[in-house]
């Protein structure tokens, strides 16, 4: 190849070069742009998901619009899981956050008649606070011990609701006010998803996020910098549980019902599956995972009894074939794009 080029004489020599070589200035977050095309190369991966998400509600039918709600909810729960994972807390209890927010919104709407536009932000913060306080005593636990506690608490809460018959007991609370319009519903959740995705990606990329990642990597070393790791972990927990509580509060008003199913295991497990399939540690991976797994589960609905088997098979194939996660794979390939340059 090289020889042929040399022998061709006269004509200019060309070789292939990775596009990002000229753009990246050694570090992954400093760029040197010299053309619109290079700008586009950087902007496209951010631009496409934004436009795509904003367009989706317009092009989908009623049924798939409902699926989109569910996709966005699970994507947000997966982002919430990912924030905790990056801060060194493996949670198996996203259902706790979801359920807390759902009940908070339901109770304030049902008993006090607050409008959804008030209950949703309020329940997000209140739910986040309650979850953080519940989990404060176990912040010292690491690894599987923390996970076990997060797994058990939502299951306990279900039984408490059942036994004490509070908030409607097994019947739940129905007749919750819906959101004023379908479009508000769709764009509220899509906007929240995009805001959370880009906002929290930025947060984790900042020096503050670096401290959180440091806790995951080596908590003693962070402690050795005079940083109170439990305070930082509590902050991460509050952020993550508020996101979860937001989705719960939102779904309460979509279903116009809140009851024991909000603490179901699905809300804990599916977000983890989405984050793992998509690629943990980026939040974009978690979102991508939700955009694949939730519609997949809908498509398979027609199959009937074997649905779970095929769904499980898909999961296994994804994880075996791309253990790094789909997003990491795509990201790597994107950075390897080449162009011809003149030498």
């Amino acid at each position: 190849m090289r020889n042929a080029d040399l022998n061709s004489g006269g004509s200019k020599q060309r070789r292939k070069e990775r596009i990002d070589r000229g753009i990246k200035a050694r570090s992954s977050d400093v760029f040197a742009l010299s053309s619109w095309r290079e700008m586009l190369y950087l902007a496209a991966p951010r631009f496409i998901p934004i436009v795509g998400c904003l367009m989706l509600p317009l092009v989908l039918g009623i049924y798939w619009q409902k699926v989109l709600l569910s996709v966005a909810v699970f994507a947000l729960l997966a982002i919430s899981w990912d924030i905790l994972e990056q801060s060194g807390m493996i949670s198996l209890g996203q259902a706790l956050f979801f359920g807390m927010g759902a009940y908070a919104a339901g109770v304030f709407n049902h008993y006090f008649g607050w409008s959804p536009l008030l209950t949703i932000p309020f329940a997000s913060l209140l739910g986040g606070m309650i979850c953080t306080v519940i989990l404060l005593p176990v912040l010292r636990l690491r690894g599987i011990y923390f996970s076990m506690v997060t797994l058990i608490i939502p299951l306990m809460l279900v039984r408490i609701v059942e036994a004490t018959k509070i908030f409607g007991g097994t019947e739940g609370l129905s007749g919750i006010t819906p959101l004023p319009s379908k479009w508000l519903e769709l764009y509220l959740i899509v906007g929240a998803l995009l805001g959370a995705l880009f906002g929290f990606r930025r947060m984790m990329g900042s020096d503050y996020g670096l401290v959180l990642k440091g806790i995951n990597d080596n908590d003693r070393s962070v402690m050795n910098a005079g940083i109170n790791i439990y305070w930082f972990k509590a902050q991460a927990l509050f952020v993550a549980s508020s996101i979860g509580a937001f989705t719960g509060a939102f779904m309460t008003h979509v279903y116009m019902f809140v009851g024991m199913p909000v603490f179901a295991l699905d809300y804990s497990i599916l977000p983890i599956a989405a984050a793992v399939v998509g690629g943990p540690g980026t939040m974009a991976g978690a979102t991508l995972g939700a955009f694949i797994l939730v519609p997949l589960s809908e498509i398979l609905r027609g199959i009937g009894g074997l649905r779970i088997v095929i769904y499980g098979l898909f999961l296994v194939v994804f994880i075996v074939a791309l253990p790094e996660g789909i997003f990491h794979y795509i990201q790597r390939k994107y950075h390897q794009f080449e162009r011809w340059v003149e030498v």
């Binding site: 401290v211 990642k213 990597d217 050795n224 910098a225 005079g226 790791i229």
Partner: protein, 250 residues
């Protein structure tokens, strides 16, 4: 009259279950002094450091720093008062480039207090600090991921992380272990520079030759007890030290 010491350790005891890791350890450390802490393996040197920095709680005894009892405080509170340490087993954040490792100590409330609330650009400060400990700026070593750096650089990074906290007392836990003679020779001037800046230093070392050259005073531990204290040539003359090291230093 002697000025009051920067650090006073008085009657310190620590047992792990039935094991007496530290027994009745007492010493004073004056501002600007370089104290060498030596002893055979398992003699309690690292435990002593863990006790001073709060990673381990003492069973009994007092640690007075600047006239205040700090024993039993959590590590982050002790470190905020100006005591920084390195770990014998280096603890870098392997996923990150070397200079990003520095961001975490630079994020510390201690640094905020020292620079008066103005951090400036942490990346730039990190690169400057790393250059000081020998990360050649021209070779871009500081941009390399910590996971690919050789041991010598990881030890320097560990030292830089401690220096970044602008401490008054620096505790170096076997900084020289696992380094070549040339690497040690290149780190010694950094330590001497810290002394010129008036830092107080405790060094735990097995490399006695290098330590004796720079230390003001040596404390020898064996089975958690202080068996000798004094100038370097004095302690090595002591019978108790000879006995403790016999076999250990064949």
């Amino acid at each position: 009259m002697k000025p009051s010491p920067l650090l006073r350790v008085a009657g310190l005891y620590k047992n792990f279950g039935g094991v007496q890791a530290i027994q009745d350890l007492s010493f004073d450390l004056a501002q600007g002094e370089l104290l060498g802490l030596i002893g055979p393996n398992g003699s309690g040197k690292t435990t002593a450091v863990n006790l001073i920095t709060g990673f381990v709680k003492p069973t009994e005894g007092e640690i007075i720093y600047r006239g205040q009892n700090i024993s039993g405080l959590p590590p982050y509170k002790i470190i905020r008062r100006g005591i920084a340490r390195t770990f014998q087993m280096v603890k870098p954040f392997y996923q990150l480039p070397a200079y990003k490792n520095m961001i975490i100590p630079l994020y510390s409330p201690r640094v905020k207090k020292m620079v008066g609330g103005k951090y400036g650009d942490r990346d730039a400060v990190a690169l400057d600090l790393l250059e000081e400990v020998g990360f050649e700026r021209d070779a871009f070593v500081a941009y390399k991921s910590a996971s690919v750096l050789p041991q010598g650089y990881l030890k320097r990074l560990e030292l830089a992380k401690a220096i970044a906290l602008q401490p008054d007392l620096i505790i170096l836990d076997e900084l020289f272990s696992g380094l070549s003679l040339a690497e040690v020779a290149s780190i010694v001037p950094i330590i001497e520079k810290l002394r010129l800046e008036g830092k107080t230093i405790i060094m735990i070392e097995h490399r006695l030759k290098e330590l004796f050259r720079i230390a003001d005073r040596i404390i020898v531990l064996n089975f958690g007890e202080k068996i000798a204290e004094g100038l370097s040539n004095e302690v090595m003359e002591s019978d108790a030290v000879k006995k403790a090291y016999l076999g250990a230093e064949a």
